[in-house]
Assembly symmetry: D2
Homo-oligomer: 319 residues x 4
Amino acid sequence: MFFTYEQPDFDINDPKEILRVLEEAYHNGCENCRAGKVADYIPELAKADPDDFGLCVRSMSGETASFGETEKRFSIQSISKVINLAAALKFLGFRETFSHVMMEPSGDAFNSILKLDMTSDLPFNPMINAGAIQVMSMLSNIMGFDELLEFARAFCMDEGIVLNEAVYRSEAETGDRNRAIVYLLQSKGVLQGDPAVTLDLYFKMCSLNVNAKTLANMGLMIANKGQNPFTGEHIIHPGYMRTIQSLMFTCGLYDESGEYGVRVGIPSKSGVGGGIAAAVSGRWGIGTYGPALNKKGNSCGGIAALEHLSHLLQLNVFD
Amino acid sequence: MFFTYEQPDFDINDPKEILRVLEEAYHNGCENCRAGKVADYIPELAKADPDDFGLCVRSMSGETASFGETEKRFSIQSISKVINLAAALKFLGFRETFSHVMMEPSGDAFNSILKLDMTSDLPFNPMINAGAIQVMSMLSNIMGFDELLEFARAFCMDEGIVLNEAVYRSEAETGDRNRAIVYLLQSKGVLQGDPAVTLDLYFKMCSLNVNAKTLANMGLMIANKGQNPFTGEHIIHPGYMRTIQSLMFTCGLYDESGEYGVRVGIPSKSGVGGGIAAAVSGRWGIGTYGPALNKKGNSCGGIAALEHLSHLLQLNVFD
Amino acid sequence: MFFTYEQPDFDINDPKEILRVLEEAYHNGCENCRAGKVADYIPELAKADPDDFGLCVRSMSGETASFGETEKRFSIQSISKVINLAAALKFLGFRETFSHVMMEPSGDAFNSILKLDMTSDLPFNPMINAGAIQVMSMLSNIMGFDELLEFARAFCMDEGIVLNEAVYRSEAETGDRNRAIVYLLQSKGVLQGDPAVTLDLYFKMCSLNVNAKTLANMGLMIANKGQNPFTGEHIIHPGYMRTIQSLMFTCGLYDESGEYGVRVGIPSKSGVGGGIAAAVSGRWGIGTYGPALNKKGNSCGGIAALEHLSHLLQLNVFD
Amino acid sequence: MFFTYEQPDFDINDPKEILRVLEEAYHNGCENCRAGKVADYIPELAKADPDDFGLCVRSMSGETASFGETEKRFSIQSISKVINLAAALKFLGFRETFSHVMMEPSGDAFNSILKLDMTSDLPFNPMINAGAIQVMSMLSNIMGFDELLEFARAFCMDEGIVLNEAVYRSEAETGDRNRAIVYLLQSKGVLQGDPAVTLDLYFKMCSLNVNAKTLANMGLMIANKGQNPFTGEHIIHPGYMRTIQSLMFTCGLYDESGEYGVRVGIPSKSGVGGGIAAAVSGRWGIGTYGPALNKKGNSCGGIAALEHLSHLLQLNVFD
């Protein structure tokens, strides 16, 4: 429907118009939830309500617009890969991090082992499971879960983030594919930490409880180049934000990243818990929650809402 | 070397500083040529001089900065994929075009058949051979080479573009992998035109003679949303530019696109003839020529110069 | 049903018992046709009658037992790969032949390109399309179709073999996947002949008209180590028969060869035209015709009849 | 050298000639060891002497011919896959066993994960790691290591088989790829037992200490259809021997099985410890030991000796 790319016939900077578009985007998101299905490969995720939808937008100056289920907590899942990467960049640096993981979109599903077994020894990028596990193996040598949780809270400007014990147990019990990945990395001699410790941290970070507002905060942190806009605190060096945003853009929505880049064009990261965090450079953080997923594992409602926002308010990085 | 991401200690809008940085970038490009090798899978390409390097930057207002070999003509090769995509969007529309080709980075080499045989019937994106051949099969039903050439000249604002007959013959004689691709697409029932006609057009478009200035012009056309900044003529609808830039960003440098996105972060397209065309949104078109290629098939000199420019002048889309 | 592996409670060398078992096998074949589907990827093949079934067994001494449709002609399809390999061994020798094609089962479908693109430059074996095309590229330099047809007639002891023009045209028109294969081989620099000439010969050899009796003859020729048992004429050197039978055993029924080896255990080759040729060393040639195919592309009736024969008469090479 | 396939000019049943050929085969084996390299991916294996070579041939009537290192013990490695399969057939039956593992050669390396991740959920065959681990997962529910060891001793007619503790520890410490495989099978929901218990049994069975004579015995057991020729005891049902021999023929030498079938043509199984066990139906068991391996992981000396024997004494199943 947006392929006509008409110029908006309203002032896209008028707060009233923006609010109207946000509401439309929210309703769009709600309607599109029906097209999806809640993830069920982890029992705990299957309990989510497919009709839930929430949209939260936060600006640098602290304005917050919330629609629908923005307070309900759910597990962060793959969106934690951004936090892990940010922690690796902050505590280990760019060179060390990318000595052990590549930066290329893989073209395969998020949990694929194919490329790893076939093409290369290093995982393709930090946004797929193999790459995120690899990043975690590096971090496992210098941090425990408490420090990671503390960093997550600072990076997402949300002290309310806690471990969802039920999801964590569910992950640990059913995470055999991730277990296969960690041992494959180990067998190739590239894993940087202990397999069991690495996996445990990886599962825990996937099991952090967040809500749409948390994700909007994460987006805002990235949009503000690693600085908390409210306290002024620098969480990570501004230079790393290019790297994070670029990898979110090319690899952030699994094997739908390319199409999402065309349709939405905002650096984002999705998780099978139903969340999407998006960063509108220098302006907004956006968080959505909609556990009904499409076939690629991305939130139907979230994509619909973000596509609407992007087109109507010209938020595409190439606009 | 750029991983420190220091803020520049000069005014990045001062024309004198810009000129200095451009010169540095040019020298950087020259030095890095030595790390690469001229393509030799097409005999005609092997004749290029690995030490050649040229950098051309053009602005909206018509300023041009040229360094080194910016007038020497060479074959456009894969950069023609951008022209083909632009033509498809203009003459067939977004929906029709993307009914027959996907938008996902493949994670494989530019000429890979793997994904096509394994995962899907449609080629992954218009920037790899399979996808560009598919795009050409659509165009072959509505245009001949003369119209395509005319469109290429308008899109690149260069009436001097002509077919390099020697390269074209060389392509046609040695293009067996592309021949394999066209017949594989045909066998899957997805090819939209006659295989021989499609291939002939594809080879011809790869054999267009351009120079670094032509590529700067192409970048400028994209940076100016499809409008010729000098004549005011609209070549293609501004809305399509998001799509073209997004696909250049995620897929424009073969299986080095992800890393290039992190290091340079400017939507670009490379060719094994040694060229790179880059679009700095709303500001500049950049063209480089350096036939010494790295292992992924991208110009060593071009990447080095563009990385320098991007960092020093903050041209990264996520800056 | 045969997994009990009971010893037969009758004299397996008693001609009357053998005849009874042959009849049972025939009926078994007829009944199992219903489980299959006639090939339809070549229009000409789709015209076959799925209920047709024929079984022909011939002994060294010239005895022939025929049941059902043993005279009806159909296209030989992949079974011609055995003739091509035999011709290559006879006219080019073992060393030359296996310098250009390997001897390994591929584990992939008969028309797969995957292994070729991924693992190796040489096709895996002469019983898959890529390998048979490669063999044909060698033969194309020393023989034309007339000589190949003459060899086929001698090898199958059937002067009635002629080209089925309709099937040949159908092959040539729809053989795009084979066209892709020949150009992929060419692009890798391993093809030994002209692509078009090679393909034309390959298509022609797939389009030879045979019947179940022809295939029984072919089996008999192999079972008799390359000597026509009726005229005494040596068609190919006895030593090559190990090679042919071994490759039929490991690769003769596409990606069902392993299971067929366990269930039947007689070196055989199948074709999507519905035929199977089997060689019971030093004793019998067996030919079956049943165009209803299973999912792997092998004749349902043929496999059922051969499994019955093998178990009841202990024809398994490992009995 | 054997491609001339000349008929032997001596009486291949004359015991003196046989002895001469056996000696030649032994010397051939010794000479060919130099072409190979001892396995080093398990530290314990790297300690083997690459010049060691032994050949042992045993007949039904108890004659034994031993040359070179036939008493030295080494770890059985992959040859235990035959014992595991035999145990599964005996204790679980054909149907149950092949409900959980296929019978197809994979065309990939013995430890490949590719096919498993890409094509199918069930492992391709019981002779590759994934398939043998799957078989062990079934056995783990009904037997412990003591019973498996007892079965191994009976099947190999060697009470001297014991666990090599050093190799077992080495396997367990470095077996990360097998760990990856077991968890991948588990994640696909096809593994039949506990991952850790399965792996432990698998590692233990790979670590059994055997010698060339043990392997000759194993070959003899198979050649005699599951009956101990000396005591008359039936170890497993004769009917299962077709299955075991057929799978040894199509899959027994990793991704060299097809070529080995052509060159040697005796159902055999190799291990990276340097052993090969071969079964000459109704006649002989042959065991070789030569830890210098070729690139496919098979014993250089063993293959050379067996090829010599097969050609000179016409032991090929298709002779």
